[in-house]
């Protein structure tokens, strides 16, 4: 299972990166691959590549503010959430995103 995600919070500082880190840790616990792109005050970091988008099973959209370059992800199955939800329950968010993939299969 390959997951891609974008996090972006209003202040663009802490929660953006905290949510990103939480997702990575949760993915590690579940032993699945994840690529997280953060869009904070300092701009896009760890930008997800075209190849990674093509290979992804699901896209976790955790952009609390309008995403930069959103059209990239149009074709990918999307699970919409918030940075707050991720920070509170990253495992649950991952599980729900994964469940979405099972549903579509």
């Amino acid at each position: 299972m390959k997951i891609i995600a974008v996090t972006s919070c209003p202040i663009g500082m802490a929660h953006t990166y905290m949510a990103g880190a939480a997702l990575k840790k949760a993915a590690k616990r579940k032993k699945i691959e994840i690529r997280v792109e953060t869009q904070g005050s300092m701009g896009i970091r760890d930008k997800i590549t075209k190849k990674e988008i093509e290979e992804a099973d699901v896209f976790i959209d955790a952009a609390d503010v309008a995403m930069l370059e959103p059209k990239r992800f149009k074709e990918v199955l999307t699970y919409k959430t918030t940075t707050s939800k991720i920070i509170k329950k990253s495992d649950k968010v991952l599980e729900e995103a994964m469940a979405l993939v099972e549903q579509e299969a």
Binding site: P10, G12, A14, D64, V65, A66, S84, I87, K88, K89
Partner: protein
Amino acid sequence: MSRKEAVTEFFGDLRQHLMTGISYMIPVIIIYALFMVLSQAPGPQQALMADLSMYAQMMIVPIMTVFIAFSIAGKLAIAPGFVVALMADQMGMGFLGGLIVALLVGYSIKLVVTLANKTGGGMAIDLVVAFLVVPVVITLALGALVYFVLAAPISSMMESLTAWLNSMSGTNAIVLAAILGAMIAFDMGGPVNKTAFAFAVGAYAEGLYAVSTPVLVAISIPTIAVAIAPFLAPKKYSEAEKGAGKTAIVMGMIGLTEGAIPFAAVDPFRVIPSIMVGSAVGAAMTALFGVASTVMIPSLIGLSGVNKPLLYLLAHAIGVVVTVVLLNLLKKEIPEEDEE
């Protein structure tokens, strides 16, 4: 898709649109506040500081409008949004005016673009929409709406609101502060927290520091409290919580309410009321002491913009103490075998 789905999709995620505006507005506010403070110092640079602050202030509402409108309708919304919002703000419509303009510009442009796309598109239609309909028709229509219809009532509404908030005598101001403080702690970064925060930012943009500062104080209290509480009642906290407490100290110093989330997640019925009361009390104290911050930055890093630094810190301390006491009073000891 069904009619209902189409309508929902058209309006989109309103909260996200508004948050986008606020997100881009905050750096402008920071520049305004910083140079406002710096312009107090006499010397050859004073005029520059004052000018920078003045121009930044003019941009606060327009930038918010532009990014809300951009979130709704994309690039085309930027120019008309900016121009009409600048005019609205200068006419006294303030934060509220900027919000209204953003929604009007955003959705009218989105409507036009949706209709244009339905006709099949093509270069001619695109040119007409982008270089005629939007800049001329929409700007003119909404500009006229603002100028002739909305300016008078909205600006007088803003004046009354500002005057009312400014004049809020002792008790009312304290009650408002307490309510906002409780909201901040309630979901620690969730929608209620964001609403109170947005309200504070709006008040701040109108220069109502007496309203925004208590919220600023409320933000850090839960996190600092959950960092300290385990040290005073170690038997009531798990190892995981003690660990989370250490990161929470840093987060509290920079004003991240989220640090309290792990604690609230495992014991919500005791933790959430405790932090709500603590933040409400801290906010109320801030209002009582008359602390005002000219920079919209919480906790220790925001100390530079505060008019009464010692009382600012005292309000924090009182809020934290109340929270810690409540937490440790309410929480039960963890039995040896299992961890809650």
